[in-house]
Amino acid sequence: MQRRNRLVIIPAFNEAGCIVDTIEDIRQNAPSFDYVVINDCSRDDTGELCEKYHYNVVNLPINSGIGAAVQTGYMYAKRYGYEYAIQVDGDGQHDASFLEEMADIMEDSDINMLIGSRFIKKEGFQSSNLRRLGIKYFTFLIKVLTGKVVTDPTSGMRMVDREVIKIFADDYPKDYPEPETAVSIIKRGLKIKEIPVRMKERQAGVSSISFKRSIYYMIKVSLACVMAAFGVK
């Protein structure tokens, strides 16, 4: 496999429905990127599909959760010396055509983390009202904790440089990492910037944040943000 300096991390758990589309999308629309699929012990055909098409897949032998899967991707990025890494979910919610643009912006600046925000230009899939309220709350919380404004703190579309790759490879939250890691990156004195992106509605699968779990999400992530603000190791 030819090595480039940009990596797409695709965590996949039971994503047989759209893993192929996701990867083909990346191959076509983000040709300067390598990719790695982290198959978190899927029970469907995700693993078989990856083998069949000879995709670059890392199979976790035990189901370890989304956080551990993504972290494995960052470990991979660190080990093979990638300059930039971005996580793209296996459900096809993100648009691969933004990847090149994001990487180019990062190459031309000293930003450590670039977040694709849905709420700067307010284009594309905007999420439900209730969810947007939750997102606004986290924007507010992060503002209080760090003084910085992050308009889309729950965006999974975040490109990071070598320095943040190292941090994530060593320490990454178990679940719902986005707001928490934003706080810890800002607190470490690293640079965060947001650019407008458009997101699609998910093609298959269900959001990891069902209504039932949203209470857990709010409490856990709030606490995690506060911990991250006070506990930079």
Binding site: M1, I38, N56, V57, V58, N59, L60, P61, I62, S64, A68, Q71, T72, M75, Y76, R79
Partner: protein, 143 residues
């Protein structure tokens, strides 16, 4: 507390301590985690053999009955043990996760090396075939 009860509790505590000691000796219980259990057993034995200490402590805290003091202490110990265990579990979870990730990455690496090896083999074989028209000597001796 009656003499009989005192004797029964003392025997119970000693047997428990011996059992814990045996668990450690046969490596079924890590000494590090056994310490708190030893502490529980020893304290029980001390309070049993010298009831005055418990009585004194009970009066000091203004608790009506020594038995309530004992319950209180027992409860405190149980909480402590559970907390210790939660810490241990978190630690183990972290370690298992790291190992899982490491195994997965190593697997990928092995597969990559294997496929590269096969590619190399194919190339060598294609060179060795006579119809390719290249003279290729394996194990040719130095002139």
């Amino acid at each position: 507390m009656s003499g009989t009860l005192q004797a029964v509790v003392a025997i119970f505590a000693i047997v428990a301590l011996m059992y814990i000691g045996n668990l450690v000796r046969t490596k079924r219980l890590e000494l590090k985690y056994a310490l708190v259990w030893f502490a529980v057993g020893t304290m029980l034995l001390i309070f049993d053999l010298a009831p005055g200490i418990l009585q004194w402590l009970t009066n000091l805290l203004g608790i009506a009955l020594p038995i309530n003091m004992l319950f209180f202490l027992g409860f405190g110990f149980v909480l402590l043990i559970i907390l210790t265990q939660t810490v241990v579990i978190s630690n183990l979870t972290r370690k298992t996760k790291r190992l899982t990730q490491e195994v997965a990455l190593l697997h990928r690496r092995i597969d990559n090396i294997k496929s590269r090896e096969e590619e190399t083999k194919e190339i060598i074989e294609s060179i060795q075939k006579p119809d390719v028209g290249i003279a290729y000597y394996v194990d040719s001796e130095e002139p």
